[in-house]
Assembly symmetry: C2
Homo-oligomer: 445 residues x 2
Amino acid sequence: MNTKSTINYQEIAKELNGIETTTNSDRLTKLSLDYYHFSPILTEQLQNKRGELAAFPTTEAEVLKIALICVKYKIPLTVRGAGTGNYGQCIPLEGGIILDTSKMNQIQWLKPGIACVQPGVKMAAFDKQARKIGWELRIAPSTYRTATIGGFIGGGSVGMGSVNYGQISDRGNLRRVRLVTLEETPQVLELEGDRVQKVLHAYGTTGIITELEIPLAPAYPWQEIIVTFDDFMTAASFGQALSDSHGIVKKLVSIHASPIPSYFPALKNYIPQGKHCALLMVSEYDITPFQDLVQEYQGEITYSKTAAEAAKGTSLLEFTWNHTTLHARSVDNKLTYLQTFYFTLERLEKLYQQRGDEIMIHLEFLRAGDKAVPAGLQLIRFTTGERLNEIIRDRESQGAFIANPHVYTIEDGGNKQVDPQKVAFKQQVDPYGLLNPGKMRGFRE
Amino acid sequence: MNTKSTINYQEIAKELNGIETTTNSDRLTKLSLDYYHFSPILTEQLQNKRGELAAFPTTEAEVLKIALICVKYKIPLTVRGAGTGNYGQCIPLEGGIILDTSKMNQIQWLKPGIACVQPGVKMAAFDKQARKIGWELRIAPSTYRTATIGGFIGGGSVGMGSVNYGQISDRGNLRRVRLVTLEETPQVLELEGDRVQKVLHAYGTTGIITELEIPLAPAYPWQEIIVTFDDFMTAASFGQALSDSHGIVKKLVSIHASPIPSYFPALKNYIPQGKHCALLMVSEYDITPFQDLVQEYQGEITYSKTAAEAAKGTSLLEFTWNHTTLHARSVDNKLTYLQTFYFTLERLEKLYQQRGDEIMIHLEFLRAGDKAVPAGLQLIRFTTGERLNEIIRDRESQGAFIANPHVYTIEDGGNKQVDPQKVAFKQQVDPYGLLNPGKMRGFRE
Ligand SMILES: Cc1cc2nc3c(=O)[nH]c(=O)nc-3n(C[C@H](O)[C@H](O)[C@H](O)COP(=O)(O)OP(=O)(O)OC[C@H]3O[C@@H](n4cnc5c(N)ncnc54)[C@H](O)[C@@H]3O)c2cc1C
Ligand SMILES: Cc1cc2nc3c(=O)[nH]c(=O)nc-3n(C[C@H](O)[C@H](O)[C@H](O)COP(=O)(O)OP(=O)(O)OC[C@H]3O[C@@H](n4cnc5c(N)ncnc54)[C@H](O)[C@@H]3O)c2cc1C
């Protein structure tokens, strides 16, 4: 691979003629970074990393042209969607070209149950179109308004809808991808069925996705609701019960232990101090049985907006998943987080009791394996990296699963181990190791 | 209550003027019986029971008029939908009037997500209308083509769709009912929310349902598929895996151990002798990931029809749930059945190994509690009532749950115990015990 010094990026820009590019350093700074700063550890490691040229292709042909030049000069290439990842997924560790997909934002076709899109299509914008024919995305992150579909497949995993459809890696949640390789002679490949796993959550290390076929969910009008509780474990049990209520259609079940709601000033009129709360999306058609469930758990509904009303303001979605961390950090930037699967309420209760002052528990329910399980993003009052690792090891020893968001390689985060299938595929499609170098640990080992 | 001798039903027919009635004995025989004959035990007990007059109201006002007369003369009243129940639910034990709902077959309104119907609306006919606006019933029995919605709520429990929505008794699967009471002065009541439980699976002992509000499911084009397997437990594990695949939308997961498929002559070209099979309904949009799952379990797809193709012939639905028993009995009428929840594959495997020649295992997957579980209707080679009870006790002692279909009271079947809420409600709405007398054991005890 070439190092920074030997490449003249002005010349490269010329060779890319017809494709929009920039070498403006302010823009490159913006286009090089993501939400890595949620982690004090990643902040230290990544804050100075920069790409040297950004390109904005609009078609697969232009992507191929960029790929060709990267191979020719052995220039690192890092794909960027909206740059909302939070593990530095799209931060170029070794400089080179940033391929920004934001101009590849066409919906190729849209049918009942399934759609085909370019990678830079933003999720909320997509749903606006899909809803016209009665469908919507199955799963979307809380960065729904800004994030791209390609970025979600490349770097995301879960979100609203996961209580029904699980994770994007669950079989069936991605159907087909086209991707451009960085082989000696770059080419376009198509992967279908289970083979799409090779690019899922691969941080763009196994090819540049140029088109995706994604399954859809029937669109419901989602009522947005806040329910408050006196007791945290009652709130958590309510979340489990709602997730398990097959007769009540829902999309989001997010539970917040006090004092987390105090980090949501916009919601302060709805969540009295000291209360625990559930932030929910439930089908408008199912509100009656939902109210019976709330009553059974002695919750209080303090906020309830129809889908039409909710569309006028900020969605409750933007207080859930990793947006909880965002709001908490905007009040107290000493806070960081850990992505944690508790799996059972029993384990959750034990860990809740051990939390001390250092930890605040925030749950998101999602389907995993044969059940809906409590997982979530607990907030941690950061002191040192050692202490953070100590917490991780302790939780793991008690049977929780932690997808560590304070590391930037695929394997050290959620995947936990080198995926030989992905590594072998990378060897095939990126023999020079130019794609987002340094992010797939298994490749260089 | 009056006994047969003292009432002149010709006079009653006159008093009911304006309402269609019959006292023709052939018609009364037909209108008095159901599929109780699946059980050799119920056959002995119930075959001679007859109503003495059948009435065919078309409106709630007419139902009220009939109720008034039943109370005036203390005449037993048994409601009948299509009479496809199989525990003698609508067989009048003490004669009297049969109130047949088949002329109360209007859809009152139909909106996205929810509909309001008269009780005599047939399920397949309803879906034909609902599908025009993109919706369908959440759950429907294999008697879908002929059975009524009121009869399903009054006497049914599960069916296609249960793998997604569970049982009709799960909160949210019935929203509101109107019913006519048999109080001193009969009246119309409305029950909403959890209070509908008082009429659910109550065999018409707690009021005559005159209107129901039911939630709907988004309609998919359902591909009908047969997959064959060499090994039964592989077929069962495949059924569990499909039920747990959140990324694959399905409606029916029905597994049949050899030699059950030999009772399906219509399917003999698709299921080679000795093979075990899965009869399935899967969303047409999800066939690709479905095929990957089949491959993982080394199944073979031998039959696959699109929804449009399937609509031209007999649906695979009509080989599943209790239709399996129907087909088996039409070949060998010594066969009967037991409704069994295995809950786990481990327990299923143990019971499968113990089956001997007497039992053939047929599974239906449905959501129950926090999971999709294997349940089903095992076929039993009937010898004596004692032996049948021995099998039941043995299975129960191994942790299976049996809803005994060889008894005609609510409590001795699936419910297992007297439901004090239902009994109290019956005391209120039917103080003279005229509604389907003898079916609610808790009422007279
Ligand atoms: C406040 C906040 C909340 C969040 N909530 C969630 C959440 O609920 N669920 C969740 O899963 N994530 C969440 N995230 C992470 C992130 O927002 C999502 O995963 C989002 O979908 C990423 O999309 P993006 O367009 O921003 O991708 P980017 O960050 O631009 O890219 C993500 C990764 O995908 C790769 N990539 C992008 N496009 C392509 C392509 N065309 N081909 C190949 N690789 C590509 C990139 O190289 C990078 O490695 C959150 C982040 C923040 C800051
Ligand atoms: C071959 C076969 C397959 C079957 N498969 C299934 C299955 O998959 N799932 C399942 O759950 N059942 C199944 N059944 C049982 C039965 O077919 C269903 O439960 C069906 O929905 C009953 O509807 P019906 O209109 O025939 O009701 P009926 O048999 O006429 O009535 C059922 C009960 O409900 C009461 N009732 C009817 N209408 C009213 C009313 N308006 N108000 C109050 N009470 C009322 C009756 O008094 C009776 O007690 C099956 C039966 C057979 C013979």
